[in-house]
């Protein structure tokens, strides 16, 4: 069942009482919100997400509250709790939505049944591209660019690899746009819904792009990792692609593993499996269009080998 299928008035009440049970990244996350303005933001952005309407056992319970009864009215601040433990210091009410976004990321990373990498993931034709990169490399922007060209969004932030089969589990939260990329993406996809801009955050201006309905509708459908591209943005630089050696790829993936050490042998084996099966490149780019073109060209060279059922690269 989709969140948007429940009447809004009922959802508002449910968010404030027992919480709404979102099904994300193979987990059931109970989201409870005491702050009406944040409920409205969630209704705008999360309409298509699958929910579990009935009661049941949750994997984790996230609860956004006012920092104290006084903070509900004066100097309004909020706190977010996961399973009863406060995650961050109190934040001003106008940034409360950001706390939910981070809390969901954190809950998914805390579950060591999946290997979670700091990477964007997009898929087309059954082949998924993993884009591991530190914050500020433009992976969310590239991700938005690819999605507007018809790629399916799995996540702009976390690659969630399942323990059972090493497949990628979608976690398609709204795409985080920062600073200049907000205007850039607005121009690229004037019809898409982008949240109002949160100004003055620690990362500058932030806004959230609602993923295409198709990506959200298919959020239970896993994907096969097929290629790895680590992007680096350099203003005005020409586009360059450099194939990565296996040792480099291993280091890159292990270093972007949020719970790599916590997942122990399984995390190591999964990274080793990725290194063996997926061709990998480092991409330097100066404009969004270059990056998107380059990744599309790479994908066109990757085929799933029917005998090994592993991605194989063809010479174009």
């Amino acid at each position: 069942m989709q969140l948007g299928a429940v009447p809004e008035s009922a959802l508002r009440a449910q968010f404030r009482a027992a919480g709404v049970r979102l099904l994300l990244a193979g987990l059931c996350i109970n989201l409870r919100i005491d702050v009406p303005v944040v409920i409205e933001q969630i209704l705008q952005l999360y309409g298509g997400y699958p929910i579990e309407p009935g009661p049941g056992t949750d994997d984790v319970r996230v609860h956004l509250k006012y920092a104290s009864p006084l903070r509900r009215f004066i100097g309004r601040r909020t706190l977010v709790f996961a399973d009863g433990a406060a995650l961050y210091r109190p934040m001003p009410l106008r940034h409360a939505y950001l706390m939910i976004d981070s809390a969901l990321d954190q809950c998914v990373s805390a579950n060591v049944a999946n290997l979670v990498l700091h990477a964007a993931v997009v898929e087309r034709g059954g082949l998924a591209a993993i884009l591991p990169a530190p914050s500020g490399s433009g992976k969310s922007t590239i991700c938005a660019g690819l999605v507007t060209r018809g790629w399916r969004l799995l996540s702009d932030e976390l690659a969630v690899l399942r323990a059972a089969d090493g497949r990628l589990q979608p976690f398609p939260l709204p795409i985080t746009l920062k600073n200049e990329s907000i205007a850039l993406i607005r121009q690229l996809v004037p019809d898409a819904y982008i949240s109002p801009v949160f100004t003055g955050t620690i990362r500058g201006d932030m806004a959230f792009l609602r993923p295409p309905a198709d990506s959200i509708a298919r959020s239970a459908e896993t994907a096969e990792p097929a290629l790895i591209v680590s992007p680096t943005y350099q203003a005005g630089a020409p586009v360059t692609l450099r194939p990565l050696r296996k040792s480099e790829t291993f280091r890159l993936l292990a270093a972007s593993g949020i719970n790599y050490y916590a997942t122990q042998r399984f995390g190591f084996d999964t990274v080793a499996g990725l290194v063996d099966s997926c061709p990998a490149w480092r991409l330097s780019y100066g404009t969004l269009e270059q990056a998107v073109d380059a990744i599309e060209a790479l994908l066109a060279r990757v085929r799933m080998d029917p005998t090994t059922s592993r991605p194989a690269i063809t010479n174009a």
């Binding site: 987990l27 059931c28 109970n30 009661p55 049941g56 056992t57 949750d58 994997d59 984790v60 319970r61 399973d83 009863g84 433990a85 805390a110 579950n111 060591v112 049944a113 050490y261 916590a262 997942t263 122990q264």
Partner: protein, 379 residues
């Protein structure tokens, strides 16, 4: 974990979810099989409570031993499995750290006893199952404390940055030196020269403890069964017992294991009397029996009560405080649990320090806190 003939679990009253979760948690830790009879809503209370109290992996361990994990909903199993993996990584980390400390101090030729969590881990005792440790605790001969500290600092551990007052607090009054942190790995190491703050007037000679210790290989030792129990009880009831269900369960495990050894109970009460730790032992036995259903011979309870119990009024106050702090305190919420936690915090200092010292300590700490707050505001 429930033993036949132990007193029944305290009744679970309806309360706010977090408090309900805490009461359910106490019951689930005593009798893990009872968790399979809980409905989804109750599981949603008890699993987060177990997580907050760092007991989720222990619960998983007991459920797996009973072979009843499969009876739980998938989301519950996922959380428990995740906790098991995290606890395993934690154990690997701390086994490694214990070994680093051992290597660093091996040349000194002194007896080094592990304390608390790392002792349970190294000795393979029941409280180690599914346990999350946060530091290594060692006890060394008081006479060698300077050499030990110097050797560790040379070996890569860094002393905590502290103002002169806090240094004085540790060095002159406490049972341990200021905590050390490893410069590269960031792991904490607490070096003790006794198990109770000397400022309290109770002086326990480290040689006495170390002479009775049990070897666990590689030149490492752990306290004797009696001393280990006394330390666990002291830690729980002379420090601040708020929200320390885990520590009470440690005591439960140790008493259950060692209680089967011939002569253990007699030796325990005799040792407590000799070390001046009769009162914390009495509390430990009383609340372990009461809250975690530990099987303690009636004669032992009666004997410790006669010898070490406070007067009836103080005992009633303590009963209220401990039940609220341990049971409700696990909820991390306000209410009676918070009041009890505060009072026990005050009490823990009251016991440790003579009145004059305590008043000075309270004034100095408040001034420091105010100054820090002002400095933070100016920044």
């Amino acid at each position: 974990m429930d033993t036949p003939g132990s007193p029944p679990a305290p009744p679970v009253r309806t309360a706010a979810p977090a408090v309900r979760g805490a009461a359910l948690l106490v019951r689930s830790m005593r009798d893990p099989a009872s968790i399979t009879r809980l409905d989804a809503e109750a599981l949603n209370d008890v699993l987060p409570a177990a997580y907050r109290n760092r007991l989720l992996a222990r619960l998983e361990h007991d459920l797996a031993d009973l072979g009843i994990l499969q009876g739980l909903p998938e989301a519950a199993r996922r959380q428990l499995a995740s906790a098991r993996i995290r606890a395993h990584v934690n154990a690997v980390t701390w086994r490694f750290e214990i070994d680093r400390v051992r290597r660093a101090l091996a040349g000194l030729g002194i007896r080094i006893a592990l304390l608390k969590g790392t002792a349970y881990l190294r000795a393979g005792l029941p409280p180690a199952r599914g346990r999350f440790s946060v530091d290594v605790d060692i006890l060394v001969p008081a006479a060698d404390i300077g050499r030990v500290e110097w050797t560790l600092i040379n070996g890569g551990w860094l002393p905590a940055k502290m103002n002169a007052y806090d240094q004085h607090y540790y060095r002159d009054w406490m049972h341990q030196i200021p905590p050390l942190t490893h410069g590269e790995r960031g792991t904490e190491l607490d070096v003790h020269h006794t198990i109770f703050p000397p400022v309290s007037g109770i002086r326990i000679d480290s040689e006495t403890l170390l002479a009775d210790a049990t070897p666990v290989g590689d030149g490492l030792w752990v306290l004797s069964p009696s001393d280990m129990v006394l330390h666990a009880a002291t830690h729980l009831f002379q420090e601040d017992p708020a929200g320390r269900l885990r520590d009470l369960l440690d005591l439960h495990d140790l008493l259950t294991l060692f209680g089967q050894q011939p002569g253990f109970w007699e030796g325990l009460t005799e040792r407590a009397g000799r070390l001046g730790l009769g009162r914390p032992l009495y509390y430990g036995l009383r609340y372990a029996a009461d809250l975690t259903g530990t099987a303690i011979p009636a004669a032992v309870l009666a004997r410790t009560q006669a010898a070490f119990a406070p007067d009836a009024v103080r005992l009633r106050v303590m009963d209220w405080l401990v039940r609220n702090a341990i049971v409700a305190g696990t909820s991390g919420q306000g209410g009676s649990g918070a009041v009890a936690r505060f009072l026990l915090f005050v009490r823990s200092h009251w016991i440790k320090m003579p009145l004059g010292v305590l008043l000075r300590h309270a004034v100095v700490k408040s001034c420091h806190r105010m100054r820090e707050r002002n400095a933070a505001r100016e920044r």
